[in-house]
Structure formats: structure tokens, C-alpha cells
Symmetry: C2
Subunit: 344 residues, 2 copies
């Protein structure tokens, strides 16, 4: 059988985070075994990368190493990185989108720097003014896409509308939902709630809904994110960031309470032991290695920022997501959605 | 022994929510047994109130009933209630602060209406421009005060500073912390994070800290609320409301996951049975009947809004909180803190 599928190539920034190169390679290998037309352009120390690749002979034939030892520190200021870190693994991996056939970037490094370098070099798609950071959130009945989680802290109604288009395209690709419902995060569901920016955005989204361009639900509240009321939840980057971190903090707190409770007596310790399989499945559902993956969307190439302390599972998850985004041509979908809106 | 303590009188709005009068009376009785110089002025249907009071003979001698059948609906608009519902149990209970020796109000009714009626009639304390809604949040190491949770959706730096003063006074009274630390909610801890309003507020809070008037920590993130990094977390009412509801939704989602996981096999069911005592203590820690209690602070009299579906436990908790606030003269503390700030 002839394999007609095109190779999907992405660039990996392997430096600048707590995640070890061993974990990055192990994670990429797992994704490669599932997505065998994948190819990785690895930016990092050649010797170390080659050493780790020895363990994975098939993967080794499907990577290119660009030797690179300089990297962006977690404490580097985005504005300075642009001038001083042009030889860093992060900068070079982004630039490779312009200079090679790499179609996306994966990094575990400094989020602010990654966004700044990406925005400056990859530029935004068509009418999109600013990219957003999106993530897949677990909810009671499945998963939803939430954006923006921190790219734009200023609230602006056009930006919220852009988020609706970007979020819809992501949900179609990543959640396989044909016409995903979109909720606009507010302090209540009634039409009268919220400030002028939200009122204006809601009005315009309703108009797009009437034209069949967006499946707009209306306002949703913080609790609706985990209820799964809508497939997509849109908000500004300030509110989204607070919501994300509050949810993460709450989940961590409950896990601490649960652990302490279950250790409180011998009987409950035994109970916890018997229920350990069930409890570990709960832990998987809330795994921050998976859910802390930020998708930069609205750029001319998708960029994924893995959690800075990801292990191989987080890397595999991120690489799988990028594969889905590229295999399903998410940016073409976004462009189509934008052009429908512009021409409506 | 002569009891020199003054009777502490509060007004209770017993209508306009899902909470039954039976639960309200039962809840008040539990608080009364702990705080025996408490006196309740009950606004609601006389016959029904008397019927429920029959069960609690000592309490019965420490209440006054103001017969009232009209009430504010959950769907009533705050602006209209002011004109059309002057004979409602809610309106009358607030007015009783001006006309009787009641010092505070407890209601389970419509939050927006309760805030509007309270603001118009009770007015704000000294230099405080707008009251805030505060709540006690559980965290990994104890509890913290978070405000504003929805009174003011506009962000304004003076309002954030007022929240710091109000939150400090509440933490001193309710958490018994002498100089509570105050964190300003932002998307990161670095000084450069956030918008102009946050920058300005942080700058002014640092100045108040330098004068020893506030124990200002600096910026905190969403995850720090449940970390317990600071005793008080201040934010605008839009962000606070989103954070609160996101946290509640996350806690509910995890409880659903946990319940489903523990039912997934016979062994885990047995484990859950053995650990049931420990698991119910976890449930208590996250009890929304307790944590959904909103304290309206910054008014000339404290008002507490219980959750609309509170049972007797929620009512007891709210009545206990009001007792602490009045017994400790929280409003005098707030006034002292304001005057120190004004004269600094």
C-alpha cells in the first residue's frame, strides 16, 4: 500500500524549561508511534539529543537536529528576548516556520517570550488583530475550549468576537463538534449583565448567530465552564487567566484535602487503598500535565506552549494536539470562518 | 452572675428564596444556643413563624415577629423593587436598621435587590464609595477573605484600596488575624503585570503598607486564593464573581468525578464505603451552604446574603458570622482604619 499522506513537520524548542530532553524525546516518540507521518525538527544540544534518540531508532530517522545551546530563561523579559536571544532554541524554532517546511512549534519555555516572538515573526491570520491562548478544559460531560487565557489582558469587543471564531474552529478540530456552541463569560446570564464591551460583543455575536456563522449561546457564568454548558467559552485574557488559575488552585486544594482526609484513620486508609485505582483515574482527569497546555491560536502557524514542568505525558499530549491541528488544517478553517464573517 | 452583655439584635428577611421558614428558624435557634444574647426581628408570615417557633421555646422569647407576606422575587429587577416592593420582607428588614435597634440584616433573597435596597437606605461608611461583597474561602492552610465578589463590576483603583481596608477589618474580626496580609489579584506576581488600574492601586497600597496601615503583600494569582498565600485577596466585582463561580464549578465537577470513579467497580465501592467518613469530611470542607454566604461590607450596617437554597446549616453559619461582626464591632474597626488612612 502506498502512503499518500504528506509528512507533517513541526519544530520543537527543547530548551529553557524544567522539562528534560529525555522527557521531550520520550514524549515525542509516543506521539510519533500514533502519528507515523510526523517529523520533528529539534532545536537543542546535538549531542544530548542524539544520546536520547538512540533509544528510539524509528523516531531517529524522522527528526532533524539543529544544534543550539542558547536558550530563553524563564525570567527573561519578552521585549528583551527579541533583541538579545536570536540564537536561542525558542527564537530559531519559531523562525524555522518562515525558513523551512515546519508548520507548527512546540515549546515548554517562557510563555511571554514565546508569544512575543511568535506574534512578531509569524504574524496574525487575516483580520485577527491579536492571537489568543486557548486550552482544553475538562467538564462534567466532556471537554470544552476556553480562550483567551492570558494573551490580551485588555478587554475589547472585537477581540472577543475573534475569540469566538478561533474557538469555534478549534472545537471543530479538537473536539470534533460540527457547530460548537459559544458562551461569553459574564457575571450572570441575563442580557443586562456585564459592562459595555460585553454588551456590544454579545449583540454582535447574536447577529453572527442569526446569519448562521456562529452558534452563539449567550452569556455564561464561571460555573458553566465545568458544567459543560457550551463547547467554547470566550473571555478576555485577564479574566481567563484568573479563571484558569483559580480552577487549577481549587483542584489542587481539593486533592490535598482528599489525601489528608483519606489518611485520617486506619479504616479510611484501607478504603483509600481499595479505591486507589478509582482515585488515580480522578487524578488523570485533572492531570495538569495535560490541561496546562496552551494553544496559541490566530497566528499563521499554530504554536503550543506546554507546561514548564511537563513530563513525557504532557509532551505527547501537546504533540498529538499539534498533529490534529495540522492534519485537520485548522488555520484553513479559521480563514474560511473569517472570510464568511467578513463577507456576511 | 449578672449578664452585662448588651443584647445583639438583627433583622431576618424570612421570605423570597427556596429556603423554608422551618430551616430559617431551626438555623437561627442553633446560633442562638451558641450566642445567648442574640435577638431576632423576624419579617415574614406571623402564623407560619409562630408555628415553627413552637419547637424552640427559649428562642421564641427572644424574637419579635413583624407580620409580612409580600416578598421580593428572585427575578425582580433591583431598580423596580425600590419603588414597588416597599412592603416586602426584604425592604422592611433593611428599613428596620433605621427605625429600630436592629444592627444587621440576614436574607436569602435576590442578591441584586438586597444590595440596591441596602445601599440606598443604609448608605456607605465614611469615605467608602461602594460596598463590596466578601466571602470566606477555604484554602489549603485555613481560610481567607475574598472581595469583591460582584457588587462593583467596574474596576477602579480607589475601590480596590477600599476593599483592602474592608477586607483587613473583616479578617481581623472573622479570622482573628492581627495584621492580615492583603494580595491584589492579577495575572502574575511581577510588578509589571496587569493594567493601569491595578498598577495604580498596587502603588498606593505599597504606600499604605510603608505607613503601616495595610499589610500589603503585592500581586497574587488565581491559584494563590486556595494556596492561602495571603489572608485577604482583593479584586473588582467582575473578576471576583468569575473566580468564585469558577472555583465552585470546579469543586462540583471534581465531586462528580470522584463519586463516579468510586462507583466504577465493586472494590472501589467497598473502598468508598470504608473511606466514607473521610470523604464526608471533605464534603463539609467544601460545603457551599457555608461558603456561599456573601457579606455586604462597607455599609453602615452589615448585611449577609445567604445562598438562596440554604438549609438550616447555612442559616446558622450566617447568623454566627453576623454575631461575630457585631460583637466585635467590625464597623468601628473599619472606621478606625479609614480615619488612619485619611489622616496619614
Amino acid at each position: 500500500m502506498i502512503d499518500n499522506r504528506e509528512t507533517i513537520k513541526i519544530s520543537i524548542d527543547t530548551l529553557g524549561s524544567e522539562t528534560s530532553i529525555a522527557n521531550i524525546i520520550k514524549g515525542l516518540n509516543t506521539s510519533f508511534l500514533r502519528n507515523d507521518n510526523y517529523f520533528f525538527r529539534l532545536f537543542g544540544p546535538k549531542e544530548k539529543l542524539n544520546y536520547e534518540l538512540k533509544k528510539f531508532s524509528t523516531l531517529k530517522e524522522n527528526v532533524e537536529i539543529i544544534d543550539c545551546n542558547e536558550f530563553v530563561e524563564m525570567t527573561d523579559k519578552p521585549s528583551e528576548v527579541m533583541k538579545t536571544k536570536k540564537n536561542s532554541s525558542m527564537f530559531k524554532s519559531i523562525i524555522s516556520i518562515l525558513e523551512t517546511d515546519s508548520k507548527a512549534v512546540l515549546s515548554c519555555g517562557n510563555t511571554g517570550a514565546l508569544m512575543a516572538i511568535s506574534l512578531l515573526n509569524l504574524k496574525t491570520l487575516d483580520t485577527i488583530k491579536r492571537p489568543a491562548i486557548a486550552s482544553i478544559w475538562p467538564n462534567v460531560i466532556g471537554e470544552s475550549i476556553v480562550l483567551d487565557l492570558g494573551a490580551n489582558i485588555k478587554s475589547d469587543s472585537q477581540f472577543l468576537i475573534d475569540n469566538a471564531i478561533l474557538g469555534t474552529s478549534l472545537a471543530t478540530t479538537l473536539l470534533k463538534i460540527k457547530t460548537p456552541s459559544v458562551g461569553l463569560l459574564n457575571v450572570g446570564k441575563e442580557d443586562s449583565k456585564g459592562n459595555e464591551v460585553l454588551q456590544k460583543a454579545s449583540h454582535e455575536l447574536s447577529a453572527l448567530d442569526a446569519k448562521g456563522l456562529i452558534n452563539y449561546y449567550g452569556f455564561v457564568e464561571g460555573s458553566d465552564i465545568s458544567n459543560g454548558l457550551t463547547n467554547v467559552v470566550i473571555t478576555d485574557g485577564f479574566t481567563g487567566n484568573i479563571a484558569l488559575k483559580t480552577a487549577e488552585g481549587t483542584a489542587r486544594m481539593i486533592q490535598v484535602f482528599l489525601k489528608n482526609s483519606l489518611k485520617s484513620s486506619l479504616v479510611s486508609k484501607l478504603g483509600a487503598f481499595l479505591a486507589s485505582f478509582a482515585l488515580s483515574s480522578l487524578k488523570d482527569k485533572l492531570d495538569p500535565r495535560v490541561h496546562n497546555c496552551g494553544i496559541f491560536v490566530g497566528l499563521n502557524a499554530p504554536v503550543i506552549k506546554c507546561h514548564g514542568a511537563s513530563d513525557h505525558i504532557g509532551i505527547t499530549y501537546a504533540a498529538d494536539l499539534l498533529y490534529m491541528l495540522l492534519n485537520d488544517n485548522v488555520n484553513d478553517k479559521i480563514k474560511q470562518n473569517i472570510s464568511k464573517q467578513v463577507n456576511s
